[in-house]
Amino acid sequence: MPAAEAIRFDGSELRLTGAALIAGGAALQLSPVHVPILCPLRALTGIPCPLCGMTTSVEATVRLDLESAVAANPAGVLLVAAAIAVLVLRPSVIRLPALILYAALAAMWVYELYRFSVL
């Protein structure tokens, strides 16, 4: 897919996912211990993927601990913000240029590779 082409998202599907994201982040607050997610990729290779730290970040954002959230993965803050925006603004369709997805994943990956001192 050319980078300028758009990925189409259905608004009602995004609202369901946005609500699940915030509910999931809230549910993790109930855990008495911080849950370290040991992902198979990092367990096997030691290399983090662009989504590393997202669970921690979303969970921290939901309890408004933005410092911890950004430290884990800044994209978690943006994802929760996007979820709130989708729930409030109720767009029927969102078209995201593929280029934005590529750029976001690349930026997240560089951040995580630095965080785990791979770079």
Partner: protein, 151 residues
């Protein structure tokens, strides 16, 4: 004189395009996000219960979740159910079973190593297959075009 096989579908798909309708990337991405949330929550509960074996449980939750649901007769994780898409065998069109569901899960790890390139592959692949689809010989399709049949 040629005979027409009534069993043969009349629809033909353009050369150079996919060999049938394929699930959109947006739907697959949202389904993946939903599945990640569900796996995260299940893992959170499992970890709270069995802290010493938390690391092992972490991997097992994802392994069993994706292998079982993608390999089920419906070919759907909970995220795929919500989004109306399913995994089918590329050649036969049927369910893939737990074993190939597991292979597909292993493929997911491979797909995510180079900055999710294996997942993004579905954006430009002719059959909209990610690497994990290619490894498990699967395609992801809309349920509207490939209804779940009870066998």
């Amino acid at each position: 004189m040629s005979t027409v096989d009534p069993q043969q579908p009349a629809t033909s798909y353009p050369a150079g395009g996919p060999s049938g309708p394929r699930a959109s990337f947006g739907r697959r991405l949202v389904a993946y996000l939903l599945d990640s949330i569900i796996v995260g929550i299940v893992y959170g509960i499992a970890y709270a219960i069995s802290k010493p074996i938390g690391g092992v449980v972490s991997i097992l939750v994802g392994l069993i979740y994706f292998s079982y649901f993608d390999g089920s007769a419906r070919g759907q994780t909970i995220g795929k159910m919500a989004l109306g898409i399913r995994v089918i065998d590329f050649r036969g069109g049927g369910p893939i079973g737990f074993g190939r569901g597991f292979i597909r899960w292993l493929g997911r790890i491979l797909s995510s190593i180079p900055c999710f390139l294996g997942y993004l592959w579905a954006l430009w692949d002719k059959e909209k297959q990610g690497w994990h689809d290619k490894i498990a010989t699967t395609v992801v399709v809309p349920v509207s075009d490939y209804p779940i049949t009870k066998s």
